[in-house]
Symmetry: C2
Subunit: 195 residues, 2 copies
């Protein structure tokens, strides 16, 4: 799932979902403001005429695309973290998740650079709250009292956000390098005490 649109190249007709999916690919690659409908249409092998049959305007496309992404991200969070019982492992998994689920992840990274956008802002807020709550719960299960768990969750999520930022500036260790593993070990040891 992530190439529902790309692979169906022999489809005679396009669906709104195909547009949304390709829009997300474009967002992941070049950011939200690169979503120009003419270039997007070219990418899909059609022209504007097609687009405006499926959507009323550009904002409508963005709204649906972002909604689609949010749902996918939410389900993803449940699957990859909800299944892990040990809270420490759950947190470790959260950090390492940076490398997998490339598209979903790159979209988020791109969206962070458009936090001023009126549609992106509330979305990022919801996602951040949702994720931090997950982390906070894990810290609570580990044994921290509510206040401490809250602070630690915020710190942990900040670290994650900062890492994404450095990554986009090529200032973070490569995910497949040993340097990355060493750094991860350090981060986890610092943020997840005990054990």
């Amino acid at each position: 799932m992530a190439q529902t649109a790309v692979k169906k190249k022999e489809r005679s007709t396009l669906s709104a979902g195909d547009w949304e999916q390709q829009a997300l690919v474009l967002i992941a690659e070049k950011g939200i403001r690169a979503v120009a409908i003419e270039s997007l249409a070219k990418r899909m092998g059609v022209t504007k005429g097609s687009f405006y049959w499926h959507f009323s305007n550009r904002d409508a496309l963005l709204e649906q695309s972002l909604l689609r992404w949010e749902k996918h991200d939410e389900a993803n969070l449940q699957m990859s973290l909800g299944a892990i019982s040990d809270p420490r492992d759950r947190l470790r998994s959260f950090f390492r998740r940076t490398g997998r689920e490339k598209l979903t992840h790159n979209v988020y990274s791109s969206l962070l650079t458009a936090a001023d956008h009126p549609m992106v802002e509330p979305l990022l807020e919801r996602v951040a709250v949702r994720r931090m709550r997950h982390i906070e719960t894990a810290f609570g299960e580990i044994g921290f009292d509510p206040g401490e768990a809250s602070h630690r969750a915020r710190l942990t999520y900040s670290t994650y956000l900062g890492f994404l930022q450095l990554q986009r500036q090529n200032q973070a260790p490569n995910l497949s390098s040993g340097e990355f593993e060493a750094y991860m070990t350090h981060v986890i040891a610092t943020l997840i005490p005990g054990k």
Copy 2:
């Protein structure tokens, strides 16, 4: 300093520096792509004609503005952190600096959302490296060995970047609240062990 241009409203003529300064204000407020020269001119009470006398084009303005900001930021780093002898206090000061120097700080926050811009990218890289080196040095003085200090510096700076991101999403505790102080205490205690 930050309103050299704004306050000189009775100046009969404008300087290139005035334009650079106002550009930075605009960047801080609405991001770098909001720097449209016609709207900027309107803001300064003149028209495009004036602008193109001082600068050859838009990029020239951005280049000078960002250079001005970088110098200011560098000097700022030296002053506020270089003067503090105790490395622990130096690190604490680095975090608390988030609240002061509003303009310089907001510019940085805005620039983070434009890391894809060909001019912003190398700038952010230089700034990040410079700041992380400061932090790394401090950790070295505290007593960590080189590798450990490097990791810890990256983690610390990531935390800082993440905090900025949350702040822009109104997801961080207000700087003037007690909640902020409590969180800061937690962050410092976690990232700066000992003492």
